[in-house]
Structures are given as structure tokens and as C-alpha cells.
């Protein structure tokens, strides 16, 4: 009986490894939600490399979850020894080059968006493929590819720890399938519990300047103008948020519409033109992030997001004011 079970397991995992098979979006979304949960609840320490553009960096991470919540410490192993200590929503950044400590007190959950329910059918816009097993950080991982069906969104390649559902490696893919950004653990150890001592910052605090971020406090909700909308969107993109902010840069109210297909997010900002201010007209990008700006009457419109250039151009060009 036991041997039969073992053989069955071997056969299943073998067939998975050989034949990349189509899996439905429900399964992948369930995997992803378990990845998110695992990332929050598991005690671990490890090292990951982060590649962006031509830069490669190594970062040590210690993560602890207990009855008081999440505690995390990240130490940069390359370049200067920057550190981030996170206790739930309280984030402390230590930047030794600047001899400064930056503290940010985020309101728990206030800014965390959730996936709108009507976006459940992600498989209308993406193909989800399980590509079999692969080793990452000497652990067995499930390799999943999320491939967009059009050129309006990026894809992902994800390696999920087979036993504990932690994300061990991830790649952001451009429409041609090239990785534009990567994160990969090179080693990771899971722990029953972790000493608090490991999460203490490695500095005395002497000669450091302390800075507090209070931008969040300034961003109080204001009434929105519901007659702004985007007429032509890529399939599946829906309005997730509509807000009015005062952004630190201008102190002028900015209309903010957020569109998402469930995986890709684009923001459209509508701002009243001010005399003499230079504005983005046309396309710009920073790594995988694209932006497109244009002037419409008295307003300047900018679409920004981690999506291909065609998407921000389409959204920015399709803004209408129906009044």
C-alpha cells in the first residue's frame, strides 16, 4: 500500500516535470495567495540577489512572525551597509552613507489594495503554465509562467518553494519574454523561531540624523470628480481606485485613477496646468516602468505603471471628461 502510494507520487511528479501543463488561473491564484501568506507567516533567514538593469546586488533578509506580527530586517551585502528594520507597519531605514535613519509609520492596511472580485477571471488575459520543478537555493521549486495574451501587460516567471510556498525567485518579463527584473534567493533557512537579537540594527545611533516621513499624513482624502474616465483600455483593465491627492511635488490636488487587470497596475494622474511648469509630453520610461503624458485643455494627463509603453500611451490618450 505504502509503496503503491510512493510510486503514484513519483509518477505524478515525474509527469509534471516532463510535460509543462496548462493549469487554470484559480490554481495559480491560490498558489499566489499562499505565497503571500507564507511570506508573512514563516520564520526564515536567507540571502537573495536582486538584478535590475545592469546592476546586481545581494541582500540578507531575516524574517520573523509571532503573536505581535511581522518583524523583518534586511541588510545590503553589496555597496554600503544599508539596513531596513520593519516591525509591522513601522519601517526604519538606516543609510550609513548619509549617517541617517529614516522612520516611517504607515497606517496598517490603509493603503493596501485588494484584488477586485470581478477580476477573478485572469485567464481571459493571461496564460498560466506550470513548467515543472526546478531547484532554487537548493530547494525544490514549482516554476510557473504567467504569460500575457496581448502586448499590453508584462509577464512573470515565478519559482515557488514546493514545501513552504515561499517565493524563491521571480522575474518580470517584457512582451518578448525577456526578464527585465529578477529576484532570486541563493540560500534560505526556515526556522521554528528566531532570536529577537537577530533583528536588531547593527549601529549605535551615534552621529545619525533622524528623519521622519510624514507624507502619508498629508495625503488626506478629498472629493473626486467622477466625470473623469478612461474610454479605451486594454481588455480586462478596470478602475480599482479613484482618489484625489496632494502630491508632495506640487501641493496641487491631483485626480488619480488606478486601473488594474488583477496583475498589472496603471495610474492615471490628471492635474490642472500651472504657469511655467514643464510637463511630460509623450513617452518616458525608467527601467520596466513606463509613463506617457499629454495636455488636454487646462489639464495635464500622465499614465504611469509597470506595464509596456503602449499601455500607458493608450490610457493617457483615452482620458475624457464627460461633463
Amino acid at each position: 500500500m505504502r509503496r503503491g502510494f510512493l510510486i503514484a507520487v513519483l509518477l505524478i511528479s515525474n509527469s509534471l516535470a516532463v510535460n509543462a501543463e496548462q493549469i487554470d488561473s484559480d490554481t495559480v491564484r491560490e498558489w499566489l495567495s499562499r505565497v503571500t501568506a507564507a511570506g508573512k507567516t514563516i520564520n526564515y533567514e536567507g540571502t537573495f540577489v536582486y538584478r535590475h538593469g545592469n546592476d546586481l546586488e545581494a541582500i540578507r533578509i531575516i524574517h520573523k512572525a509571532d503573536e505581535k506580527g511581522e518583524h523583518e530586517r534586511m541588510i545590503s551585502l553589496t555597496g554600503s551597509a544599508r539596513e531596513i528594520i520593519r516591525n509591522n507597519e513601522l519601517v526604519t531605514c538606516i543609510l550609513p552613507d548619509n549617517k541617517s535613519v529614516v522612520v516611517d509609520n504607515k497606517t496598517p492596511g490603509a493603503r493596501l489594495p485588494s484584488f477586485p472580485e470581478e477580476l477573478a477571471q485572469l485567464d481571459a488575459y493571461y496564460d498560466f503554465t506550470f513548467e515543472g520543478y526546478e531547484r532554487v537555493a537548493s530547494r525544490e521549486a514549482r516554476r510557473v509562467v504567467i504569460k500575457p495574451q496581448d502586448r499590453f501587460r508584462y509577464g512573470y516567471r515565478l519559482w515557488i518553494d514546493d514545501a513552504f510556498e515561499l517565493l524563491l525567485r521571480s522575474e518580470l518579463l517584457d512582451p518578448d519574454g525577456n526578464a527585465v527584473e529578477q529576484i532570486m534567493f541563493t540560500d534560505i533557512k526556515l526556522h521554528e523561531s528566531l532570536e529577537d537579537e537577530l533583528l536588531k540594527p547593527n549601529l549605535s545611533g551615534r552621529e545619525y540624523t533622524w528623519v521622519t516621513d510624514d507624507e502619508t499624513a498629508k495625503d488626506t482624502p478629498m472629493p473626486v470628480d467622477a466625470s473623469w474616465r478612461v474610454e479605451n483600455k486594454p481588455n480586462g483593465f478596470m478602475l480599482a481606485h479613484h482618489n484625489m491627492h496632494n502630491l508632495p511635488e506640487s501641493n496641487l490636488p491631483v485626480e488619480h485613477l488606478v486601473y488594474t487587470d488583477g496583475l498589472a497596475w496603471v495610474s492615471v494622474y490628471i492635474e490642472k496646468l500651472t504657469n511655467g511648469a514643464e510637463t511630460l509630453q509623450g513617452a518616458s520610461n525608467m527601467g520596466a516602468v513606463n509613463a506617457f503624458g499629454r495636455i488636454m485643455g487646462q489639464y495635464h494627463i500622465t499614465a504611469v505603471g509597470e506595464v509596456p509603453a503602449v499601455t500607458v500611451e493608450l490610457l493617457s490618450s483615452s482620458v475624457v471628461h464627460t461633463k
Binding site: V35, T36, G39, H52, G53, D55, E57, S76, T78, S80, R82, I84, L90, V91, T92, L95, N98, K99, S100, V103, D104, N105, R111, L112, P113, I146, Y156, L158, L167, S170, I183, S204, G205, R206, T209, V211, T212, D213, A217, H241, L247, P248, S250, N251, H256, V258, L263, S267, Y269, T274, G276, A277, E278, T279, L280, M286, G287, A291, T302, V304
Partner: protein, 206 residues
């Protein structure tokens, strides 16, 4: 706790003896509750004098234009917690970068940094500015916006910081990775040199 609150308050007002301040800083570092408290005190202090700040110093709208029009000197001022609004913004953005790539307005030195002569060459910090071209918005991930005008890049950064607060990328399990990689090649304007901007062009020390 009351005593420590008094000390915190004195510290924020800059009225604590250096030895006491050092001791308090160590305590704050070790204690989450104190750190949170410190942040709140600071917020309160800021809102109480925000009116003064708004009337007195306004850098926020068009720093680059102002810099191009006036030969300006930034005066160093160490360990002072009350800062001009625009500088707070730069520091605030550094924190906002926790979610993803972001940039801050910084001043790129053409010569070796005057305020940090011993600093490594890779660390760009604050130097006196003479031309508009010296003000370069720098992305945390080492990649700049593909635009020529610094004010446009700076605006795009503000948008991106805000956008990141509202988006949930799939890589969300490691949301702080980019800031840890922050500052390797590019650095935030040195917060140890707290700046004061005087539109008349002369430097000011408080």
C-alpha cells in the same frame, strides 16, 4: 514612560544634552514603541509649525527653476530635526521607495563634495549649486527617467511613489528589496547636512 516622553520631547526641541541624546537614541533604536512614539511626536511638532514652514520656505513647486535663476548656497546644519518642507520631501521619498524604485531630487557634485571630503567618490551628496544642470533626479534603482527636464523627472517620481502605494505587484513578498539596494551608486541628498534654502542667495545658519 513619562520621563522618557519628556526626554523625547526635549530631544525633538534640541534641548537635550549631547550625552543624554546619545543615550536616548540608543534606547529609541532598541525599542519599537519608542520609535513609533518618536515618529508621532515629530509629526505633531511638524503640524504645529507647518504654517510657519509654508509661509517661510517654499521649495516644493519649482526648485530647479529657482536654482537656475539664483546662485544659491546650501548651508550645512547638523542634527537639526526641523527641516524645510522640500527637504522633508526628499527624505520622505526615500522611505516611500520601500515599495519600489523611486527617485529623489539631489544635487550632483561636479567636484569633490565639500561637506563630506572624506566620503567615497560613489556617494553623491550635497554641494553648492551653480547651474541648473547640476540638479539631477536620481532613481534608486540606478536608472533615470528618459526625460531631459529635471522637474519633469521629479514629477514622474512623485507619481511613481504614489502609484506604488496603490499597486500590488506579484513580487509583493519582498516589497522592500529595492530600497535595500538603494544608494549603492546614487545617494539621497545627505540628510546629515540639513539644508536651508534662502531665495536671496545668501546662506543661512540657524
Amino acid at each position: 514612560m513619562t520621563k522618557i516622553n519628556e526626554k523625547l520631547s526635549a530631544f525633538i526641541d534640541g534641548e537635550l544634552e549631547p550625552a543624554e541624546a546619545d543615550h536616548l537614541i540608543s534606547e529609541i533604536l532598541d525599542n519599537d514603541e519608542l520609535r513609533s512614539c518618536w515618529a508621532n511626536y515629530h509629526l505633531i511638532g511638524h503640524s504645529m509649525q507647518s504654517e510657519k514652514t509654508n509661509n517661510g520656505i517654499d521649495l516644493s513647486a519649482s526648485i530647479s527653476e529657482a536654482l537656475s535663476n539664483e546662485p544659491t548656497v546650501f548651508a550645512p546644519q547638523r542634527r537639526k530635526l526641523v527641516m524645510p518642507a522640500a527637504f522633508k520631501q526628499a527624505a520622505g521619498m526615500a522611505i516611500a521607495a520601500t515599495v519600489a524604485a523611486v527617485a529623489v531630487l539631489m544635487v550632483q557634485p561636479e567636484e569633490q563634495n565639500l561637506f563630506n571630503p572624506g566620503g567615497s567618490a560613489s556617494v553623491a551628496a550635497v554641494t553648492p549649486v551653480t547651474t541648473n544642470q547640476d540638479v539631477i533626479p536620481v532613481a534608486v534603482n540606478g536608472v533615470n527617467w528618459s526625460v531631459k527636464q529635471p522637474s519633469v523627472a521629479s514629477k514622474l517620481n512623485a507619481y511613481l511613489v504614489n502609484h506604488n502605494d496603490y499597486s500590488t505587484p506579484v513580487r509583493g513578498t519582498l516589497p522592500f528589496a529595492p530600497i535595500v539596494s538603494y544608494g549603492n551608486k546614487h545617494s539621497v541628498a545627505d540628510p546629515s547636512v540639513v539644508m536651508e534654502y534662502n531665495p536671496n542667495g545668501s546662506s543661512v545658519r540657524r
